[in-house]
């Protein structure tokens, strides 16, 4: 489809380009070239380099002549690297919580706020407020809620004594869930606002027609509105997956992503800024992250480019 539309555009393109002077062409060349170069040089070259480096061994000392090709050795070593499985599991738990709990709650609030409600702006603003905060600050704000002796939650629960103290962020059995509550606090608002914009674009006649046909609100949403919002559903799905893979700041400020809060993103970072600089191995973890993120990226591209008029 893309090919035909480009071909169809060719005669028009010729005509228009013939109007252009050399200076015009130079300007267009720079207008395309500079941004494309910046983006490719600092985003795509490193992406490809991550893949290439993952097949090598390099401790970062000395020049690139010290890079040694080791085949798939880094990948073979991944399963025996102690933090790898916890990190992968935590990323998948993160994804599952976002996908099956936070995102549906966000959609639910969007549907509620889409009704004709007085003061809807106030409710929207409240839910949406955490979205403007960085996840690093969110980590700090929730440390104040979760703090063992002076935090709000333990004081309300009365669990501040030695015997019954709940260490929300320190106990490795519960800290991931505590952090996910904080991360969802932000994610729900994000999804709510995106979905609300989608709902506003739905033709009200559709919902009315469903109501006249005797559909309950629930049926009207699941059978009529939800399918119509397929484009926005895909955006929400992609954002949910990508955000869960990007998670880093909040665990890094809480405990540097150790002791129950390991994530793939933290492992990659520790392999370059940590004391042991293992470039090849860190890159192999980055490739795992890349492979997981390719799914949503391709899904998004296939949708965004389908209705591309060229």
């Amino acid at each position: 489809m893309a090919a035909t539309s480009v071909a169809g555009a060719t005669p028009r393109r010729r005509r228009r380009l013939s109007l252009l002077t050399r200076r015009d062409k130079l300007f267009l060349g720079l207008a395309l070239g500079i941004p494309a170069f910046a983006h490719i040089f600092l985003v795509w070259i490193p992406t490809l380099a991550s893949v290439a480096l993952s097949f090598t061994s390099w401790n970062g000392i000395g020049g690139i002549e010290n890079i040694e090709f080791v085949g798939i050795q880094n990948y073979q070593n991944l399963p025996s690297y102690p933090p790898f499985w916890p990190a992968l599991t935590h990323n998948l738990i993160w994804l599952a919580v976002f996908l099956f709990i936070a995102t549906p709650i966000g959609i639910f609030f969007a549907v509620l706020l889409d009704k004709d409600i007085r003061g809807t702006r106030f409710y929207q603003s409240a839910l949406y407020l955490p979205v403007v905060l960085s996840l690093a600050i969110i980590g700090f704000i929730w440390e104040l809620m979760y703090a063992p002796e002076r935090g709000f939650i333990n004081n309300v629960l009365g669990t501040t004594e030695q015997g019954n103290l709940i260490d929300w962020l320190g106990n490795r059995n519960i800290n991931l869930w505590a952090v996910l509550v904080a991360a969802s606090w932000r994610h729900i608002g994000y999804i709510m606002i995106l979905y609300l914009a989608g709902l506003k674009s739905v033709d009200p006649a559709l919902k009315e027609a469903a109501a006249i046909d005797g559909a309950s609100e629930r049926q009207a949403f699941f059978r009529v509105v939800f399918p119509v919002l397929r484009p926005i559903n895909i955006v929400v799905l992609v954002i949910t997956i990508i955000e869960s893979l990007r998670a880093f700041d909040i665990v890094y400020v809480i405990n540097r992503g150790l002791n129950g809060l390991e994530l793939l993103s933290v492992l990659i970072t520790n392999n370059i800024v940590g004391e042991a600089s293992r470039i090849g191995f860190g890159s192999a973890i980055a490739v795992v992250l890349l492979v997981i993120s390719l799914g949503p990226i391709l899904l998004y591209l296939s949708r965004a480019m389908r209705n591309e008029p060229t």
């Binding site: 490193p46 990659i268 970072t269 949503p296 060229t310």
Partner: protein, 304 residues
Amino acid sequence: MTTVAEEQVEAQVAALTARRSRIRWRRVALYAFLTATALVWLFPIAWAVYQSFRPFEDTAAAPVAIATRLTLDNYVNAFTQAEMPKFFLNTIIIMIPAVVTVLFLASLIAFAVSRFSFRFNLALLMLFTAGNLLPQQVIITPLYRMYLALPLPRLISDNGLWYDQYFGIFAIHVAFQLGFCTFVLSNYMKTLPRELTEAALVDGASVFKTYWSVILPLCKPPLAALATLQVTWIYNDFFWAIVLMFTGAKRPITSALNNLQGQFFSDYNLLAAGSVLVALPTLIIYFALQKQFVRGLTLGSTKG
């Protein structure tokens, strides 16, 4: 006849009132639920603000209590002890040029791909869109090595490298955010009539002039929305400067939080004041420019 009709009317009225009161109860429940949710949602921020105004001894004695004394000391301490003005300045040095540059470059390439048909238009747009979705950690390892290897004039780099420099952080922000801004702007420019550019070109205007005085002024709405969004995102960035900026004193405010945490250790009131101070600029932007912010996000998702 009449009685039957009256009965029917009465029955209908009764049913209607019953339905109305049911609807009213549902409304009340809805409002109660939404209000409760909104309060729960605002609570963590309110709690941080509340803690930030209380003296250390008071919170130590009774963490959850009605305050008897309020103080600004925590703010004064956070501001001076942690040298916050310095870190805010670092943020400004990086953020303002980055936002201006990314919007300028994105508007250029969006103009070129949306007003002219090149064979590689689609490929280019796909590359930008995909690049904007990559997790940062996928590219960080090679990027870190590149930053250590790439030279930069001494004029803008005190170690002659991209690493540990304002320029390096600026550059990665521009490159990374270009994807999203180009996507939004090119979608917007495609909705402007083709005749605009054609007429200007036929009238003898140069392509640059067409871009600068015809298309760009029409793009104020998406540019304003994107600027709001980019200021918030770049302000909120934590990751790039943690890895690519070694000198703690040169880190922007959000990344500097990482070292401030050591100073705030165990003094939660100070931590609260510091958090509120750092969150304040984004909260102000949010309250002042909420419409722009939301429009920026939804422009990127509902179109194209």
